[in-house]
């Protein structure tokens, strides 16, 4: 009986493993690859010799050889990873920079300027108009409980008006208790609660911010968008003050030849409620395609704060009155800059962005 070709397999494997552990660089590893696990390796030679075995011994020997090959290959790959990691550490070490040692005076920047985002610019312009009218500017969180986003705004669970907003629900707490805010109005509630707590009524604030609606984006809408909301809670404040503020804002932001008008609408958190329209900024009121020949375009919603909302935050509706309004910052930007497709705002194409200053 002849000696099996695998009689010294274990020894050969140990030799290979030892050789692998000796390899000390990725270059050396690459060179050693054919001779260790490739076609020129001893394992491949042994593989060929299996053909000489009696058929009954062949499968057993094959399995042994397979297992040996796996061990060697694993060791080889492990070594490769080790060496790569060492090489990365080495190159990172070579690349080390003591940031505190940077000589700032020696750095020269190109003589070009950047460009602010159009939403930020628009938001600042709007804020400035309202600050000049006596408003402060407040902000609130983007994740809200359903209480702030809906119920305190006079929309109890299952209220059909909740369907006016396509809501993203956040996977926290009980189902549908946490949402991405669908409007900036929850910030009103936070502000009023704080004012009640600190006994600091009256309130005159605008609240800009990012909102979310589960609505497939198109040329006029994005699922993520920005609103600015206004709230006044004071004594002796009513609908005519609201109409006056809207008109002053309209002329101040859009220009003296643009005016506003209100028409009845429904929002759960205001009563009376109104939609406010402004003179079409394209045709200046003479009628065009943008305004469907009416001369007017819708900008936002507004109204006298519903007593239910005041009640929810503990404000006496007999002593205090107030009004609220809200509209899209993105929409103002779209109108002012004639942005044909709102999706350009999230494309971040520098050729688009560099048009703003």
């Amino acid at each position: 009986m002849s000696t099996s070709p695998l009689h010294d397999l274990d020894q050969k494997v140990s030799e290979l493993l030892a050789a692998i552990s000796e390899i000390d660089s990725l270059d050396a590893l690459r060179e050693a690859e054919p001779g260790t696990i490739g076609k020129r390796s001893i394992l491949s030679t042994l593989q060929k010799s299996l053909g000489a075995l009696a058929p009954e011994d062949r499968s057993d020997a094959g399995a042994r050889l397979q297992s040996a090959r796996r061990d060697v290959e694993n060791a080889f790959e492990a070594r490769r990873e080790e060496l790569a990691s060492v090489a990365r550490l080495h190159s990172l070490e070579q690349d080390r920079l003591e940031l505190g040692d940077v000589v700032v005076d020696n750095v020269r920047f190109p003589a070009t300027t950047g460009h602010p985002g159009i939403i930020a610019v628009t938001q600042s312009q709007l804020e400035d108009v309202f600050v000049a009218m006596g408003f402060t500017v407040s902000e609130g969180p983007e994740v809200e409980s359903d209480w702030y986003n809906f119920e305190a705004l006079n929309m109890p669970p299952a209220h059909p008006a909740r369907g006016m907003w396509d809501t993203f629900y956040v996977d926290l707490g009980d189902p549908e208790t946490v949402v991405l805010r669908t409007h900036t109005s929850p910030t009103q509630i936070h502000l009023m609660e704080e004012a009640v707590r600190s006994e600091s009524l009256p309130l005159h604030a605008v609240m800009p911010g990012r909102c979310f609606r589960r609505d497939a984006p198109d040329s006029r809408h994005l699922a993520t968008f920005h609103q600015i909301e206004g709230l006044v809670v004071d004594r002796g404040i009513g609908f005519s003050d609201l109409a006056g503020v809207i008109e002053t804002f309209t002329r101040s932001y859009f220009g003296p030849d643009i005016t506003s008008r209100l028409r009845p609408a429904f929002f759960p958190f205001t009563e009376p409620s109104a939609e406010f329209e402004i003179t079409c900024t394209i045709c200046k009121g003479s009628g065009c395609r943008t305004c469907s020949q009416t001369g007017w375009i819708e900008l936002g919603g507004c109204g006298v704060v519903d007593p239910a909302v005041l009640h929810a935050v503990g404000i006496d509706a007999d002593e205090w009155g107030g009004f609220a309004f809200g509209f899209g910052i993105d929409r103002c930007a779209q109108m002012r800059h004639q942005i044909a497709d709102m999706r350009a705002l999230i494309e971040n194409d520098v050729r688009f962005l560099e048009q703003f200053s």
């Binding site: 000589v103 985002g117 930020a120």
Partner: protein, 824 residues
Amino acid sequence: MRIPLSWLRDFVELHESVAELTEILDDLGLVVEGVETVGEGLEDVVVARVDEIRAIEGADRVRLVVVEAGDGPLEIVCGATNFSVGNYVPLAPVGAILPGGFEIAERKMRGATSHGMLCSARELRLSDDHEGLMILDDLATPIVGQGLVEALSINVDVVFDISVEGNRPDAWSVEGVARDLATRLGRRLKSPATVSPTSPALSSEFASTGIDAPDLCGRLTVSVLRKVRVQPSPAWIAERLRNAGMRPISNVVDASNYVMLELGQPTHPYDARHVANRTLRARRAREGEVLTTLDGIERHLALPGRGLGDTGDDCVIVDGDDAVLGLAGIMGGSSSEISDATTDVLLEAAFFEPMSIARSSKRHGLRSEASNRFERGVDPQLALRAVARFVALLLESVPDLEWLSEPLDEHGIVPDVTDVELRPGDVQRVLGVAISNDEIQRLLEGLNFRVEERDDTIVVTPPSARLDVRAGAMGRADVIEEIARLHSYRRLPRRVPSWPQPGALSDRQVLRRRLRSVIVDLGGVEVWTPTLVSDALFDLAHPGAPRVRVTNPLAADESVLRATMVTGSVQAWAKNVERGTGDVVVAEFGTVFVHPDAIDDPRITKGGDGGGMVLNLPKESERVSVLLGRREDSAVSAVAFWAVLGERLGLADVVIRKDENPERFMHPTRAGVLIDRATGAVFGRVGELDQAFVAQLAPSLDGRRVGVLDLDVDYLADRTLVVRRSDFVTVPSRYPSALFDLAFVTPATVHAQDLAFALRTSSDLVEEVRLFDVYRGAGLPEGTRSLAYAVRASSEERTLSETEVATLRDELIAVGAHLGARLR
């Protein structure tokens, strides 16, 4: 809601132009979204009979149809397939001009010649129906060649498409719109014709009813109609329905739809043969019950839904065997549907609790014309008036119809209507103008409110239809809105209020604007990347970390709230590099989120039904991330960028330290943190992106250095965490400054900024210390480097003498030595 002008005119005299009416409706809050003229320009269209349909060789979308329209066979090429030989259809012959000005000419298609056009209802502007040709088989006696106008008794009409707000259930009908118009215009509102029961037989001898869930069903009336013959409706009813956007089906179904459109009351006719014991009851569905609704979908009833507080209540209508016939107020089942063979009809007209209808409709994803009305609130008193109108309509096609006496009428719980008191000054306080009591009375009575003056208070009783009018202060607001609306918002005065409190930006907003302005001046192009990112993108920076997830994302790769903006900014920048516009600095301001379970200080807020639950919400931080992606950029330019920015923010003393625990996107040996030396607050990171990380997001950018600056705006805005320089300034000395350089050989453990700080603060004479050179290598011991500083010094009192400068120099060398640096 589509409302034909002719229908409105049944209720109120209107001689205004369409444009004037549109303006008035808009101003009433009944927003006109479109105006359409129907039935116009159809003089050339005739009735034709389909005699033959042939395939056209090589065409699979069109067929050749041979029709007879009185002058012998005509060959027409037609793309519709909803008809067969023997049907009657409208034909626009060659030379006809369709509404909208489209002129029919002979056309050759696929080798065949078309001598006219067969039309859909939409092509004729008779309705929105474009599901194929309009089929005219319902005509009592179709006559080929007869003008369509004559055959269908078509009248020219104007249709307003009106959008009715959610708090005006009373206006969601022709009568409701007409009532608003009549009140605004000061005209009389007419009532439509109704009838009384036509048969002395008692309803209770034929049918029975009951309410087992009085909280879900506030009223259930069942009327019995006998000797019904199901057939097409009279032409004028069919025309009205078409103009209102509904397809005529049969006289019974059409009467039900007509009444719903006209008065706002949904009704449901059942074929009495298929209602066991001719009994209709309303009860709560039981778990395990299944109903196949008319749309063919199996509905599993009484299963609690996902909605907050949704207990799974479904109200169902059952028969005498307790078998479920329909989902009450939403949709019926097919078992008891009206068919051509129906002769006895049980007509249900009911009131269902609006909120439970809303929940059921949402839970089953099933909305219908009926559920839309019930969930807003149908007038609980309307049911039998609607039935009386229904019967009047049905009598037109079935003159010997029998309506049995004393319709069954069961009551459950109906929401209370409460009186609302308007105190003197209430209206003026809210609207800013006084409106006379007479005018208030006229306006409100026009809407069926009862108005009574008691002393100086006006007591207003809303009609049963106005379920939206609440009690107390809220009811006052509701009533005042109605007064304002009918009076016209445009007639209310405008007043610009003022108050003593000044307007202002917050400290944070001022800081943010400053940040933005400097970043832009330094080359930053502001981007806006998604707040919602993919799991894969999240894992790139924070593998395996808890994440805040959206349960109903629009797309799977927009389902996780971002924990950093850097990844998004890299993507935005990389796309620009691909476009050849990537030689820029990109910057983004925005919010990042941390899962409440991952931190000790989640945001705690109230939520849940009634705000009674305490919720842990994600921690939100505002950050600004800047990527320096120009070709020459690296950690070095990022540090310089920060230096300018920090200076412009007026920060007192910030140092850059090695980041011992860098984020995965940071280059591990080029990562620094920004620390306020006084408070120890870590408020940002600066350095370079890890090239391996960049390569994962944009393989083509492997090897490119990208500087990064990532700041926590919350910290920056808090002066107790990041200290700003005092607003007080010093006037420089009038005496000349002395300038000298100091180069120290320093061990790696000494920070260049610390050494500069020590030198600057060691003596009142030192005005400024600036690092101007760093040298490593030949001539210096291993592990050390040379730091060269330019020092400027002066005295308030005199020009510094050479001796004094030399002394100062020695003092500064000693300061250096104290820190382990020796003069080179």
